[in-house]
């Protein structure tokens, strides 16, 4: 049976309902919550602050550090707390996705710490994490050239699907499932992160990118609206 209908009845290019909040962690310099359906990510930003030990400082520009963490209760099978191979990889990848928009040259010798916690997971956690982190960075007053938005695009069987859920990620019939997280800069129309897990022909990838750009622009509008209501 081919994949024709999504499990939650959404259209192929429809996003899950989004909820975004700002300033949820009072002790942080900037914080945000970003929820896409059942996936909820919170991000806290500390800094810019002086980086210690001193040998890690860069006199030319600031340093960005990202910590991605999935909390033990975020999935139905409790996951072992603490850093894992997966979380370390996502931390690094998120760092690279955020790096192009942050004007680190303005913050020599300092560090900006971003802590992303996934409090509930249903696929697309790294994308929700990046969306939350971008908003938290703006809230912390870090100089940024623009905002970033991220979305997980999937190829389920032979259909391009926006904002996939866990059930679709585990689809095994036909051509199976391919997961493509995309981070898009809506203003300069650039892609800062593109990952691919699975198989996809070139023509379909182009289609997936277009779907990703469209979805990211929608997310950008939500981020902008939330930031504007901050005061």
């Amino acid at each position: 049976m081919a994949f024709t209908k999504r499990s939650d009845g959404r259209k192929m290019d429809e996003l899950r309902p989004i909820e975004a909040k700002l300033g949820i962690i009072p002790n942080a310099d900037g914080s945000a919550l970003f929820a896409q359906g059942d996936t909820i990510a919170i991000a806290a930003v500390y800094g810019p602050k002086t980086l210690n030990p001193r040998h890690q400082q860069d006199p030319e520009k600031g340093v960005l550090r990202v910590h991605y963490n999935m909390l033990p209760f975020s999935v139905s099978d409790r996951i072992r707390p603490g850093p894992s191979r997966r979380s370390q990889e996502i931390s690094k990848v998120t760092e690279w996705a955020l790096d192009p928009v942050i004007i680190l040259e303005d913050l020599p010798g300092t560090v900006v710490d971003v802590h992303i916690s996934i409090i509930q997971a249903n696929a697309g956690t790294r994308c929700a994490g990046i969306n939350a982190a971008a908003m938290a960075l703006a809230h912390a007053g870090i100089p940024m050239s623009e905002m970033v938005s991220a979305i997980a695009i999937g190829k389920i069987d032979d259909k391009i699907v926006t904002d996939i859920v866990k059930e679709e990620e585990d689809y095994h019939e036909g051509e199976g499932a391919t997961d493509i997280p995309i981070t898009y800069l809506s203003n300069s129309k650039k892609i800062s992160l593109l990952q691919l897990d699975g198989k996809i022909p070139m023509s379909k990838l182009k289609e997936a990118l277009e779907a990703g750009k469209k979805a990211c622009e929608k997310i950008y509008e939500v981020q902008k609206k939330t930031l504007k209501e901050a005061e």
Binding site: G23, D29, G30, G47, P48, K49, T50, P59, V101, I103, L107, P108, G109, T110, A138, H139, A140, G141, I142, P143, M144, S145, E146, M147, L185, S186, N187, Q223, K224, L227, K228, A230, E231
Partner: protein
């Protein structure tokens, strides 16, 4: 009203504030082609040909001439290192102390953990210099300290210091506001100091409301009465 609304326009990073060539980009903006874009979340401030963004959140950015409350964190041969809640630690040289200080007696003048009222004399690329020369500067010996969001400080001070002046008179306290968000309150008794702290907290909670100064005046009158009646009851 429309003017007021224009003033309060909030911009997000990467958003185009104005288009046109004859406008200069100010603080927290950047020029891309003909457009001027914001690089920080904040309120747009347009004056003549200059456009800048006034931040509404984030850590304190030191400026020359700012009065801040600093905490001494270390002593070195040439002076004190102080934390002013900015991205960089600040430095206070021996020379900038109003009296002559012998190196061995540095700890007695400003010891580690002491809070001092001081002025920022210089802001470098990644260094901040302080001075304690002048009236009203120096070590804090009594009173209470309260911490607020540094972006809210202009609201507490009010137009030409009207708000803080009102609180000072109503509570009969001396209030020193550091631009970095630390506030020193010194009153005759504890109750007055706590009342002043409560008043400041009330201002912080209502920063967005219109005509805050008038509302504050009422609030101070109302709460002062209740405070007085409380003490009277206790006396009885």
């Amino acid at each position: 009203m429309t003017k007021e609304k224009q003033k309060r326009e909030v911009v997000t990073p990467g958003e185009i504030i104005v288009k046109g060539e004859d406008i200069l980009p100010g603080d927290w903006t950047r020029k891309e082609g003909k457009d001027i874009l914001a690089t920080r979340l904040g309120i747009v401030d347009k004056t003549d040909r200059l456009v800048k963004v006034i931040p509404i959140s984030g850590v304190y950015i030191p400026r020359r001439g700012n009065i801040v409350i600093a905490e001494v964190i270390d002593l070195t041969m040439r002076g004190w290192i102080a934390d002013i809640k900015a991205p960089y630690d600040a430095f206070l040289t021996l020379k900038e102390c109003p009296m002559y200080v012998n190196e061995s007696e540095m700890g007695d003048v400003y010891g580690v953990g002491d809070l001092i009222v001081c002025k920022i004399s210089k802001v470098g690329r990644n260094s901040i210099d302080l001075t304690t020369k002048g009236r009203g500067f120096g070590k804090i010996k009594e009173g209470i300290i309260t911490k607020v969001n540094p972006n809210r400080v202009p609201r507490i001070i009010g137009k030409e210091g009207s708000m803080v002046k009102m609180i000072k008179i109503a509570t009969d306290c001396e209030i020193t506001i550091g631009q970095n968000g630390l506030i020193w309150i010194k009153g005759k008794d504890k109750d007055g100091e706590i009342f002043a702290k409560k008043a400041i907290e009330h201002v912080i909670e209502n920063t967005t409301s219109e005509g805050l100064t008038e509302k504050m005046e009422e609030w101070l009158k109302k709460n002062k009465k209740s405070e007085k009646s409380k003490t009277k009851e206790e006396e009885k």
